[in-house]
């Protein structure tokens, strides 16, 4: 098949960018990476991009196709060619471009290192066999352990775009990989660290990281899990945590969101007073319900019962977070030929089949 691509070239010597179109003849099974290889071989040997495993595990070939981060080895070209579309290929976002499709990954790795990304078992010498941990306990970090560090999520992160120092989805997912690990002894210190400036509460929840992760890691979910674990451990100094806590408090006491008190509860009284004029404007337009007497929902007891249930089941921390669930393993094909989501949690491992069958 004849495949056409437009590629944003970047020449590091001149500093010039140029959108160039290429056309090559490629086999029908070709993925984007195969097409780039054909262009490099047959048309222009100076085209630069990273590659290695070509099977979605090494994380080298992150780049953008039509503005969205992809792994080049995962994108099949045939459906795109059939549509008559000529995709635009460019380097990943939020990282400095070195040449053509190659970005400088050092800012990415710097943030990974900032997470203290190694297990702290609380001892130095190994004196026993493996630790006893159930598969169920390990499943808590299953998705985060799938991360291949390709940088696709960081490329798409809206918060990093506005605050380059934001730790970002990949690093925070790596953080949860240790916070959620029952063998790690450093959970509270980690949560303290991740709660500092540029930490978990700076995520804007745009969900682009979940959407674009090629491995189903769902980094936004990991960030939510870190938030829930922080509050569970009483680390709630950030406005984000206070904001979340007030939702819970509101629901328990009235069954509704007590909006008028939300700002002072989140930002503190002083900060709230500074916004008095804005609040009065809202009041004038009927946007603020009067706080007294509090409006209590008829079935508020149900909200309270739900809260108790969550506590009883130990789902007040990370286990309570069930959100994006983009992991491919969770996509079930139906008889109708489509796919449905939200099947049971996957549980890799468990006991192996008996020998010699």
């Amino acid at each position: 098949m004849n495949v056409a691509l437009k590629i944003w070239r970047f020449d590091p010597d001149s500093g010039e960018r140029e959108l160039k179109q290429y056309e090559v003849d490629a086999p029908e099974w070709a993925c984007l990476l195969d097409v780039l290889d054909l262009i490099k071989d047959q048309v222009d040997g100076t085209l630069a991009y990273r590659k290695s495993c070509r099977m979605m595990i090494c994380g080298s070939c992150g780049m953008r196709m039509d503005g969205a981060a992809v792994l080049a080895c995962k994108e099949r070209m045939k459906p795109i060619v059939d549509r008559g579309h000529v995709p635009v290929i460019s380097a990943m976002g939020n990282l400095p471009i070195v040449k053509d499709l190659v970005v400088d990954m050092e800012p990415f790795w710097g943030k990974i290192r900032a997470m203290k990304p190694w297990l702290d078992p609380g001892y130095d010498e190994v004196t026993e066999r493996e630790r006893i941990v159930s598969q169920q306990q390990m499943n808590v970090i299953h998705k985060e352990a799938l991360c291949i560090m390709c940088g696709c999520c960081v490329s798409e992160c809206n918060s990093i775009e506005s605050d380059p120092e934001f730790l970002g989805p990949a690093a925070l997912a790596k953080g949860f990989r240790f916070v959620g690990d029952p063998r790690d002894e450093d959970e509270v210190d980690r949560l303290e660290d991740y709660n500092s400036e540029h930490g978990i509460w700076d995520c804007t929840r745009c969900y682009f990281c979940n959407e674009r992760c090629p491995k189903g890691v769902d980094p936004r979910d990991a960030i939510a899990k870190l938030g829930a674990e922080s509050i569970k451990h009483g680390i709630d100094r950030d406005m984000g945590a206070k904001h979340a806590k007030w939702f819970v408090r509101s629901a328990m006491t009235t069954g509704w969101l007590r909006e008028t008190e939300l700002v002072p509860k989140t930002q503190g009284v002083v900060s709230a007073i500074k916004q008095t004029r804005f609040a009065l404007e809202l009041l004038k337009h009927g946007k603020v319900p009067p706080p007294f007497p509090p409006h209590v929902a008829k079935d508020v007891s149900e909200a309270r019962a739900l809260h108790e249930l969550v506590q009883e089941q130990g789902r007040d921390g990370a286990l309570g977070i069930v959100q994006g669930e983009r992991a491919l393993a969770r996509i079930e094909h139906t008889d109708a030929g489509g796919a449905k989501r939200d099947v049971a949690e996957i549980t890799p491992g468990e006991e192996p089949a008996p020998a010699g069958h």
Binding site: A48, R54, C58, L119, M138, D181, A329, P348
Partner: protein, 544 residues
Amino acid sequence: MRAAIEAHDAGADVALISKIHPVRSHSGAAEGGINAALGNASEDDPEKHAFDTVKGSDYLGDQDAIEVLCNEAPDDVYQLEHWGAVFSRTEDGRIAQRPFGAAGEPRTAYAADITGHVLVHVLYEQLMKRELQVYEEWFAWQLVIDDDRCQGVIAWDLLNGGLKTIGAKTVILTTGGAGRLYTGTTNAYACTGDGMAMALRVGVALKDMEMMQFHPTTLAPTGVLITEGCRGEGAYLLNAEGERFLKRYAPNAMELASRDVISRAEQTEIDEGRGIDGNVLLDLRHLGAEKINERLHGTRELSMVFAGVDPIHEPIPVRPGAHYHMGGVDTDLDGKTTLEGLYAAGECACVSVHGANRLGGNALMETITYGKRSGRHAAEWALTHTTVAVPPAVEADAERTLKKLLDRTKGERPWKIRDELAETMHENFGVFRREQDMRKQGELVDALRERYKRVVVDDKGDVFNNDLTQALELEFLLELADCMIVSGLARKESRGAHARPYDYPERDDEHYMKHTIVTWVDGQPQLDWAPVRVTKWEPMERTY
């Protein structure tokens, strides 16, 4: 990375040089698991592991090396677990173990079907913890030799351009395999045998280079790996008639026979017209959606993306593909080569644990155990010797050679040579080997090496010039192909991966229970032999 950690912990000043970021290493693509006699799924012990490995090697493995591996494996796996490796678990919370080909017990510890990925990342975490220096995206090209010692490495800095020299009292080669010699290979683009070729060029011997393993389950057309874990979990191999054809080749072990046996069986079925478009079928359907999603979800993802097949509903078309080089740089039990200061470990080395055929799950284990041993020994040597000298002439020579290549503007670009090499290796030096094909391949490789002398690099720039490094990789591959052919022609028997059904169909222990040894003399391979080290297992007939 395992070697670096051990050397650092032994007190040495360590740096890693890698042409790709360490977590991009192809060990991360290992899926099925790592073999150690933990005994978590059955009664098992290192001696059983050793016997299975000796038998699997078709009695070409060095038995002392195998015993070291199997004895140290359990503690080495526990160490990985304590570092945080996310292993799958048994019901009682221990590391889960699954059955694998040619293993008498379920011995393969695993993390779903991403075991290699999990281990690569846990090792990188330990590197970060120790703040070890990594020269990322430095392409190691030449070894520095002075005073009959290896004293460093000359590398091309991909990000910034230019040759960089690092002096070192000891150098450990851990560059992996050379699967890129073949079109259909499970190996990454990075697997171009760099360490083997670098060692060869400085006079270090390569061992058993004819022994290239073909993995029975790779996806057409590119050779993406489908893990042996599928068969470990109970998958069937079927021919076009829907027959479990292994009953005619390995009636007892069936799908869990060793890889060489199954690859030959598949190729025979395909050659005799019982394949489907050059493939046989790997059927997982009877395992059920739940088991597939739990333990083989990565496999399902690969099948769906690369073959358009959902293994829950359809069998996966698979065929043999080049997978693992049992041969490599000849080392002793501490990873030491014949050259003072130079070590090798992992796939690029040949200690020899795998002999003529490697068992699934033993490669990851070898990287860990022998990585550790070579790291420890290299550190000890470095700490007891003081001087390092990189003669300026060595650097100047390297600069000159590179300049000659970069200055050339007229000639052929490397890719056609690369593709012709890989296609013809597949045809003439594949699962089955014939004398005349191997001879023809020798002539072809010589012709390609002639063409390579006039090769032109398109990119003349400094920044991320992998057009240049890919040309240098091709030169490595061409030289290794020559070594393989010379060794293959000399081994006039069928043993493990070296199958000559048309002229020497039997194993010949009397004449060939010995290693091929190749050294580089005046730009050509020179063949020699070395004895197999036998400790307690005399060769027996090998059936599964």
